[in-house]
Symmetry: C2
Subunit: 266 residues, 2 copies
């Protein structure tokens, strides 16, 4: 068996998230496993993803790992995958990986991006890839709020209920808001929020952005957010924002896990 | 009868263009006329659009004009339209207009934007709103080529065959390329081209961008483009690029046609 590491981009709109489900919902993992089965003459392959993105969440740089009986040149494997995958998911890079490589367990960090459309009417051209709130938001209040999350914190206040993670402590190394390019007519701003951490709890980014919106509309101060974060109580936190504005941009690995990438055409 | 001017944004992906067709294809014009019929208890309304965008072409600022028996406060009309329109088309502004106002005939200029994804693999997140070529393009060659179109020219070389326009002379006031925001993994650049003119022939912008791509990959020089433009021969021109990267951003009117806009919520 040969272990591969494949970088995936997808439009999450028409997927019920990453993780394969019993009920036959269309998932990214299931779609990739099906594509690999087609390439391998029915071989059943278990694919691990670095981030188990929720329904509607997109990826520019999701990382998947799996082992195949057949040995492929990595660029051939990516091309073959793209020939059988639907056009809302693409293999954008492929590489050989050590046998022990596991895309999720060995990830050391991730970068997520959230795009927020604040026009009075949701722009039809952004409706798949941006969340929408019809309010004028104060960027300096949002910037101040974004800084609350930087550092090592117990994010229990932002964790989805019923989650089974061992610890809710994560270290956020970057949490930044900037103005996005382009307009959302008539006159609404586009905001882009990026956050890097050593790991994320389920709905953590959407809960952060929900809090930034509350700060931007003047309902929550940075101090109130700081106190609610320290309270480690999910009920004390603003509601998470909708999934469609969220993209998993990049997954990081320590040097040992980072086999050289193979650029792929077609 | 009261005449209205409504600004529309739409994702053109799932429309067979602007113009209503006999065969029952889904068009933007037909969709808006149907929405107005629903609001008016079956009243048949003829809607004129400033730009007859082709299948797959998007709009941020298409302008439509029509007359209704009922008198609406413009913002109420836009809200009512948005309540019955599908979510890939939105009324983003509405205003009362003089009886003689016609969105197409009185337009004095338009701005179109083309977004080009040059990653080795088309990014799934941009596949609805960006054209794709898998080549590294030279921005300085494309910038030089873009300048060829500025000024008053006979654009017969770029006109669709079988078009019935009276003249193929148009004046281009801006023709500019810039780097777009964000990445298309792995490593491909995003290019954004914007062009303003007093009017456009059918497929004119897509023919210009087709030429910019040929210039960017070194196949056509700016001089060759200049000569081919002067030749006024459609067969001498590079093929138009695909529709999905194109957006009608803005339509201009002389001051008389430009009734004050009414901003709209939800």
């Amino acid at each position: 068996m040969t272990t591969y590491r494949v970088t995936l981009a997808y439009d999450g709109t028409d997927f019920a998230g990453w993780q394969a489900q019993a009920a036959g919902a269309r998932t990214v993992q299931g779609t990739v496993e099906e594509a690999l089965a087609r390439l391998g003459g029915g071989e059943r392959v278990a694919v691990a993803g670095a981030g188990r993105t929720d329904a509607g969440v997109h990826a520019l740089g999701q990382v998947a790992s799996f082992a195949l009986a057949r040995e492929w040149a990595p660029s051939d494997l990516a091309r073959a995958l793209n020939a059988v995958l639907p056009d809302d998911v693409r293999a954008i890079a492929a590489a050989l990986a050590p046998d022990a490589f596991h895309a999720r367990r060995q990830a050391t960090g991730k970068l997520y991006r959230y795009v927020l459309d604040t026009g009075p009417v949701p722009s039809p051209l952004r409706r798949r890839c941006a969340g929408h709130v019809p309010w004028t938001l104060d960027p300096s209040a949002m910037t101040e709020a974004a800084a609350v999350f930087v550092g090592r914190h117990d994010f229990a206040s932002l964790a989805s209920t019923g989650s089974s993670v061992k610890t809710t402590v994560r270290t956020v190394t970057r949490s930044e808001l900037r103005a996005g390019e382009g307009e959302t007519p008539p006159g609404g701003a586009i905001w882009v929020y990026e956050v890097e951490a050593d790991g994320f709890l389920r709905k953590m980014v959407r809960s952060i952005v929900g809090a930034l919106v509350e700060a931007g509309r003047g309902a929550w101060s940075a101090d109130r957010l700081r106190a609610a974060l320290a309270a480690r109580d999910r009920r004390a936190w603003p509601a998470p924002i909708e999934a469609r504005g969220l993209t998993l941009v990049r997954v990081d690995y320590a040097a040992a896990g980072a086999a050289p990438r193979d650029r792929v055409a077609g």
